[in-house]
């Protein structure tokens, strides 16, 4: 469990993280979404005790990070892939971290095996590709077999195989009952990996909700319909129960009716269709809609879980 309460970080006049409240629960993957520069990494660094917040606090399993008896055994983090001395071997990098928390050297071999670096463990990390560095960073996070894991953009630099591997790893860790908090600016990736999402923009919490709820409550699916007889079609569709709006270019946006049903209505009245294009509500659309709100300073979002109503 990770909890943040009123977490705030300022760099001079710029507010990087602004009164952030959220809870990351165990047993699920929680995605941490926001545009680049929205404060995701800063938030994670504050949770890991690397940056001191100007206000507010965060906790790991109810304890301040600094008070943990065995930090690596409670929380593992991948914050930067390249945070490795290029002259040190992967094995020695992990060994020196393991020793800080009295983790046996045999565990180093286990995690090297788990991330698929056992064959190159003796090589200097400076020769690693970005993908291998990511794997080494993930191995370091897993070292203490911790119940809480943070990953900052873990799929950066990975090939499709690697991305699938990370996705399965994260889901597997969550299924084991761990708290898994993973940041990304890639909505599509989060849609496949995360159960819950926390969305921030300009350092402010926009929403924390299960992904299913988020996509369902966004403006959502609609169908773009073009027809030379748009007015007649629009009236017919409204009579059939759909919500129809006319776009400036003459196209109709139809909500509440599937494309097949729209085609049937048109056919029944002999109306010609030039276009019938369904739009599924994606996490990405939900995200864009939400962050646009925040960037325009419209304040609270469509959702019930807002900055003020967030868990404390």
């Amino acid at each position: 469990m990770i909890e943040a309460s009123g977490l705030t970080k300022r760099y001079g006049a710029k507010v990087a993280v602004d009164d952030l409240n959220f809870t990351v629960r165990p047993g699920v993957v929680t995605g941490f979404l926001g545009p680049n520069g929205s404060g995701k990494s800063t938030t994670m660094r504050m949770v890991m005790g690397l940056d001191a917040p100007n206000a507010g606090s965060s906790s790991i399993n109810g304890q301040r990070f600094h008070d943990l008896d065995w930090p690596l055994r409670e929380v593992g983090a991948l914050l930067e892939a390249r945070a490795i001395h290029p002259g040190r071997s992967a094995r020695n990098h992990l060994l020196m971290l393991a020793q800080t928390n009295r983790i046996p050297a045999s565990r180093v071999e286990q995690v090297l095996d788990q991330v698929g670096l056992d064959g190159v463990a003796g090589q200097r990390a400076g020769k690693f590709s970005l993908g291998m560095s990511q794997r080494l960073g993930i191995a370091a996070a897993l070292l203490g077999d911790p119940g809480v894991l943070l990953f900052d953009e873990p799929v950066n630099g990975l090939d499709p195989d690697g991305i699938r591997w990370v996705r399965n790893l994260l889901r597997g860790l969550a299924q084991e009952g761990r708290t898994v908090f993973v940041s990304s600016h890639l909505m599509s990736e989060m849609a496949l990996t995360a159960d819950d999402v926390i969305v921030i923009g300009r350092g402010r919490l926009i929403v924390q909700a299960p992904i299913a709820e988020l996509t369902a409550s966004t403006a959502g699916g609609y169908v773009t319909v073009r027809s030379p007889q748009a007015a007649a079609l629009g009236a017919a569709l409204e009579r059939a129960g759909a919500a129809v709006t006319t776009e400036p270019d003459g196209a109709l946006s139809v909500r509440g009716m599937r494309p097949a049903a729209i085609g049937d209505v048109a056919a029944a009245r002999g109306i010609t269709l030039h276009e019938l294009a369904p739009h599924e509500a994606s996490l990405e659309e939900a995200f864009m809609e939400l962050t646009e709100d925040s960037l325009d300073f419209h304040g609270d979002s469509l959702f019930t879980t807002t900055n003020d109503g967030g868990p404390r």
């Binding site: 165990p26 930067e80 001395h85 020196m96 009295r102 119940g147 009952g177």
Partner: protein
């Protein structure tokens, strides 16, 4: 949700009693130090430079023995002169022990594993100091014995029982270690390799050059506070004895234990007083570094 709660209950890895300790961090820091090639190269450089310069200096003195006067010849100092080169390598190594971690981002992995930063610095300092003591004392003793062996008759040579010689040999190694701590402390304050090495070289080498351009009164007042001067006094044996009377005459008897005048130059502190002041510099720099370490974001 219920599956999540159930899963959380299942997940509870075993954890040892107590808390991560200084001993754990010392083990980790030793792994860090020994696992870098730069450490091994620096160690080789320290030995080659320290012992090598000593060999060159003593061999040269022996070879030209017939052609020069030997009034102030100090066989101990001649054999230990390489220490003044070694201090640069050890100091830079001290800088790198810290800035290498900042430059690569490893420091954030370290502090994520061990958030008590002063404790990490204590462990780092202890491991570095241990390695530096072993290395520099080995170089000092090797330089002394090889150097004295090269000073065959008719050249004069010293033994460890020569008054002041043991102090010079042991002290020169300790002097180098204090310089190394100064470098380490500057590394913690500056955090960037280039900047920290610049600061280190500035304090050690550039500052004396600036002082040398000043009026004699300022030189006389400031010179004895320079680390290089303290190192020079530490490795010097014979000149101290011959200058002692002059000191008493110049400064009066109440200061003759602390200040001696060497070869007509500006006054210097006696070897151990100078060493104590140098350690004070290192402690001060490390103390400032510790405060910044805790206050700054990693």
């Amino acid at each position: 949700m219920s599956t999540a709660v159930e899963a959380r209950r299942q997940f509870a890895p075993p954890v040892p009693d107590g808390r991560y300790s200084l001993a754990d961090l010392v083990r980790s820091e030793w792994t860090k130090l020994r696992s870098l090639r730069s450490t091994r190269w620096s160690s080789v450089l320290v030995v080659v430079l320290g012992v090598g310069i000593g060999i060159l200096a003593t061999a040269e003195s022996r070879a030209n023995w017939q052609h020069v006067t030997h009034a102030g010849f100090d066989p101990t100092q001649t054999s230990l002169i390489g220490i003044l080169g070694v201090q640069l390598v050890i100091g830079v190594l001290g800088v790198l022990v810290v800035t290498g971690e900042y430059g690569t981002g490893t420091i954030r992995a370290t502090f994520s594993a061990a958030p008590r930063r002063p404790l990490v610095l204590v462990a780092k300092t202890a491991v570095f100091l241990g390695a530096a003591v072993v290395l520099s004392e080995a170089v000092a003793f090797a330089s002394f014995f090889i150097g004295q062996a090269l000073l065959t008759a008719p050249a004069v040579h010293a033994t460890l029982s020569t008054p002041g010689a043991l102090r010079a040999v042991v002290g020169s190694g300790l002097y180098v270690c204090a310089i190394g701590l100064l470098g380490l402390g500057l590394g913690v304050i500056v955090r960037h390799t280039a900047g920290a090495i610049g600061a280190f070289v500035g304090v050690l080498l550039i500052f004396p050059i600036i002082v040398a351009a000043m009026p004699q009164s300022i030189i006389n007042a400031v010179r004895r506070y320079e680390p290089l001067q303290m190192g020079h006094t530490m490795i010097t044996v014979s000149a101290v004895g011959s200058a002692a009377k002059h000191v008493i005459k110049t400064f009066g008897p109440h200061v003759h234990h602390e200040i001696v005048k060497v070869g007509g130059g500006p006054a210097t502190f006696s070897p151990w007083v100078g060493f104590g002041i140098l350690c004070g510099y290192a402690v001060a720099v490390l103390a400032i570094g510790t405060v910044l370490l805790v206050r700054r974001d990693a």
